[in-house]
């Protein structure tokens, strides 16, 4: 028995094919069966369930390539289930979690655990990175081949940079044996050590130790040299500086297999958000100055920055209600990823298709996941959103277990009305 759903009256958005027009989409048995302007012109058979999108945008579901979920280990902050619940309401149909759980995900049994839980939960597909080094200690490589066979999407030490140049070289080289991706947290730790926010006037005024933007640029430039000699595939997570973006731009021009992403806070905020020691605005890498923020937008515009990821980082009150330097970094972002990104569209920086490319198509491509496209045969993972609906972010109403976001009361435009995973509606906004 086939399950068929016809989505009508939708503004179809598919950056891969350049499609942006009103039409219909037919999902059958979890995959996209047809796309077109007039699929229902001859009427539809009775077994087809019809969803009227009421003129909303219909895009490939978002692939959020950088989230932290706290299971196993810190389930009081977030579980795979609560994370998936928050993700579906944000239009995210696939997400990739960092391996910085307790214990860290450096063994194939843990990768398989995440896969099994994801299928049981049956919401947003949860994929996981595996640790690039055993115990995230930055010394010995993990079993990349076996971990990839178990389902790991790529390899990273999460919040820690792979600092040792020889270890990074071996990681890139060994990963390329199996054509696997290494993801780097771009901060030279010796320069970042002890720093709490971006180095500059505000840090000096607040008396906080600063982290120079060069800490990011140096790490990225070093890694690019290592990519050159190893021929590996390399991705820089959450770039925040003009220097790093420029380095990636030049590396791409030279034809290296390098990609990068950023997070909404690096284009929606700058270091002034720290204000009077607001720990909700403490992130790693830190919020930078206005020039860097503009460079992030420019990087998204010209495609140097491939993807936008939420960088979802749940932190409980105990982790944030601390003196600034002692507080944990991070912002929860699953539910604000789309509306904050849509600011780039509403203020004219990015076209809608460019935005969907950064949120859906490119992250899926970088991680070699099947989503990110509206085309027959692709999974029917869809995000349906009202492009213009204005609302205010209410941090207390977030579904994530933690509410650490510096956006409370921020007016935004654009809201997810329905999220579909494998043809099945997993989130629907009450009208």
């Amino acid at each position: 028995m086939s399950e068929r759903v016809l989505f009508t009256n939708a503004r179809l958005l598919d950056p891969a094919s350049g499609l942006d027009r009103t039409g219909e989409l037919l999902a059958e048995n979890g995959t996209i069966a047809a796309i077109g302007p007039n699929l229902a012109r001859d009427g539809v058979s009775e077994d087809v369930h019809i969803v009227d999108c009421a003129g909303c945008c219909l895009a490939p579901g978002l692939t959020d390539m950088r989230v932290q979920l706290r299971e196993p280990g810190d389930e009081h902050q977030e579980t795979l289930a609560t994370g998936a619940e928050a993700a579906v309401s944000g239009g995210i149909t696939t997400m990739a979690m960092l391996p910085n759980t307790a214990p860290p995900i450096d063994d194939h049994a843990l990768v398989e655990f995440v896969g099994r839980r994801s299928r049981e939960i049956g919401r947003t597909a949860i994929r996981t990175y595996a640790a690039a080094t055993k115990g995230l200690q930055g010394r010995e490589l993990t079993e990349y081949g076996l971990l990839a066979e178990a389902g790991a999407v790529a390899f990273t030490d999460g919040l820690r940079a792979i600092a040792d140049a020889l270890v990074m070289r071996r990681a890139l080289s060994y990963a390329s044996t199996f054509d696997l991706l290494i993801v780097q947290h771009p901060e030279e730790p010796s320069l970042g050590a002890g720093g709490a926010m971006n180095a500059g006037e505000i840090a000096t005024r607040l008396g906080l130790a600063g982290i120079t933007p060069a800490a990011e640029t140096i790490m990225v430039e070093r890694d690019i040299r290592l990519v050159e000699i190893t021929g590996g595939r390399y991705h820089v997570a959450h770039v925040s500086t003009a220097g790093a973006i420029d380095a990636v731009r030049r590396a791409k021009a030279r034809g290296l297999q390098i990609t990068c992403d950023t997070a909404p806070h690096y284009f929606a905020l700058n270091e002034t958000a720290v204000g009077e020691y607001r720990t909700f605005a403490k992130v790693s890498p830190p919020l930078r100055d206005e020039d860097d923020r503009r460079a992030v937008i420019a990087g998204l515009k010209d495609g140097t920055i491939d993807a936008i990821a939420s960088d979802h980082t749940p932190q409980d009150q105990e982790s944030k209600r601390l003196p600034f330097a002692s507080a944990e970094p991070g912002i929860v972002g699953l539910e604000t990823l789309l509306p904050l990104s849509l600011e780039l569209y509403h203020n004219g920086n990015l076209s809608l298709l460019q935005l969907v490319r950064a949120l859906s198509q490119r992250p899926a491509e970088i991680l070699r996941l099947p989503g990110g496209h509206l085309k027959p045969g692709a999974p029917a993972d869809l995000a349906i959103f009202d492009l213009d609906r204005p609302w205010r972010i209410d941090v207390a109403a977030l579904r994530s277990k933690c509410k650490n976001a510096p956006y409370d009361g921020r007016p935004v435009q654009g809201k997810v009305t329905r999220t579909v995973v494998g043809g099945r509606t997993v989130f629907g906004l009450e009208a």
Partner: protein
């Protein structure tokens, strides 16, 4: 009598490596090895080296290579002295040359040298008057191993030219791989190297080999599968994350061997790590495995090399 270098089938004073040897020189050594291999056992003691002295100078532990040279020299009627040097307790370089000078004063005919540092055997050869055979220097060359591998292949397959030879494992640190690559290429075989990228040294394309990072691709249609020892002390997350992972992707078992030719020959220079680079069943498969034959051929090859060099050493030096 003025024989002249042009007529000499092996006009070299030393055997330091395969690189630089011509096709005909290699063929000559293999032909002579063939003769010795056929007559070796039970043959009466030969007299070529009678009154001559071969010194085995080993700065690195070895049982099979040293024994093989010793047996070869004795079968040729020579006297053999084994010297096992302790590298850890002496300063390298200066002491190596001092040792060479001391041994040189004893007027041996052939020095057989193994040393953990690449280039050390050549350095020593520049300081002595006798012939020097490299029995393995660092990650550089191990010419007699390559010759015995070639002899084994030639006797089993009837030829070297045109064969597809897949050399699998730690290419980076292997002197056996380097000597084999030079020899097999010179003799017209098609050489592939197969390993995780961390174990493949840079610029392999300059050596005329095809590089593979997976066994399926690397072994497809291969006539010869040559496994190298994984030096487990190098494992520990540095070049390869674990033995489990290495064996899963690069260890030779019947499943991986299935894509090679039906009559593909399995070789290994020894000592083997069973369950690391090679499955025990495959290693012991008497129809496919040439591993024991390799050891046997070792003596014949070393006899041929001693013969070629001692003859050269005894030839009158032109004024």
């Amino acid at each position: 009598m003025d024989s002249g270098a042009a007529n000499d089938p092996f006009p070299h004073r030393h055997l330091l490596g395969i690189e630089g040897l011509s096709r005909s020189e290699i063929a000559y050594l293999l032909d002579r090895s063939d003769v010795y291999a056929d007559q070796a056992r039970g043959a009466e003691r030969l007299t070529l080296l009678r009154g001559g002295t071969v010194i085995n100078l080993f700065f690195e532990n070895s049982t099979r290579t040293r024994t093989s040279f010793e047996l070869a020299a004795k079968r040729l009627g020579g006297d053999v002295i084994n010297m096992q040097a302790q590298t850890s307790s002496i300063k390298k370089g200066e002491t190596l040359i001092d040792t060479a000078m001391t041994l040189n004063a004893m007027r041996p005919d052939v020095l057989v040298v193994r040393h953990p540092e690449s280039g050390a055997v050549q350095l020593l050869s520049e300081k002595v008057d006798c012939a020097v055979i490299n029995a393995g220097d660092g990650s550089h060359e191990h010419p007699t191993q390559a010759l015995l591998d070639a002899l084994t292949i030639r006797r089993r397959k009837g030829r070297l030219e045109g064969l597809i030879v897949a050399i699998c494992g730690d290419i980076s640190h292997s002197r056996v791989a380097r000597s084999n690559i030079h020899l097999l290429n010179t003799m017209g075989a098609h050489v592939r190297v197969v390993a995780p990228r961390t174990l493949i040294p840079p610029a392999m394309d300059r050596f005329g080999v095809e590089v593979f990072y997976d066994m399926r691709g690397g072994l497809a249609g291969a006539d010869i599968v040559m496994m190298l020892r994984l030096q487990t002390e190098r494992m520990h997350g540095s070049f390869v994350p674990s033995i489990r992972e290495y064996f899963h992707f690069f260890g030779l078992d019947y499943a991986k061997l299935a894509v090679a030719k039906d009559d593909a020959l399995i070789m290994h220079p020894g000592p083997m790590n069973r369950g690391v680079e090679i499955d025990t069943e495959v290693a012991d498969d008497i129809d496919r495995s040439a591993i024991r034959q390799q050891v046997e051929m070792g003596v014949a090859v070393r006899m041929a090399c001693l013969e070629a060099l001692s003859r050269e050493a005894r030839a009158p030096v032109a004024p």
